[in-house]
Symmetry: C2
Subunit: 130 residues, 2 copies
Amino acid sequence: MLIGELAARAGTSTRTLRYYETHGLVRPRRSANGYRVYDEAELRVVHEIRALLAVGFDLADIRPFVACLRAGHSSGDVCPDSVAVLRRKLAEVDAYLDRLGGVRQQLREQLARAITYREERCLRTRRRPD
Amino acid sequence: MLIGELAARAGTSTRTLRYYETHGLVRPRRSANGYRVYDEAELRVVHEIRALLAVGFDLADIRPFVACLRAGHSSGDVCPDSVAVLRRKLAEVDAYLDRLGGVRQQLREQLARAITYREERCLRTRRRPD
DNA sequence: TGTTGCCTTGACACCGGCGGCAAGGTCTAC
DNA sequence: GTAGACCTTGCCGCCGGTGTCAAGGCAACA
């Protein structure tokens, strides 16, 4: 399978696949003319990468999952390094959820104050219109 | 007040103040020698900018708040455009909280599956150690 | 043999909020 | 007059995941 076919089947671009390669995530063989040649397993790898990216992982975080797949496991999740990343990411998400909850609270308060202010001004204006 | 003093008092850098200026958020006069000159009100403006940035706003979102302050209001929140931005941001934060909640759920499931897998493998290994 | 369509590497562009450096002007103090 | 502490504009770099273009090689079919 050449790069164009893999890109089409994985729903991404050749540019993206080459980028993953420079970051050590995808490892094609080379044919005699220098073309990248991928086997079927790489399709699975690319799907794993795309799925984790969609969740918010970056390429460095994804590396252990790919290594896990490549080590022959049916899922990229089950190796110790992957589990460590999952734990860390879960903690990050929890922390971010906390922070975002605070932001939400602050926004609601700002909004409430602003609207209160505008209502009060409206009432004053009615009593003494300009 | 020159740019260095404002930067120090606002807890930021001269580079940052010049950057805000290129984006139309801060408006210094110029002295005869070309130096930027800020009055006290600009300190308030810069504080508003920093506070909103810290919450996660970008500079474009912040513009109405600065305009509101500059229009003489004691708070940047109370003008219609600011309120509109607050509403939009609140909606964005809500949406992101939803999404992040989903991500968190997925991470927990992946983690649970991975750990279950490892425990099962561990039990098999005890029965038939390699 | 030419056209078409794939492939290769390399490099620039983007987004946002700056950091940091260079080359030069200005003001103050000694 | 000179040191040094300010100021000016302008430009490159960063991060991450691509899009996009250029210039060229290779394969297959008319």
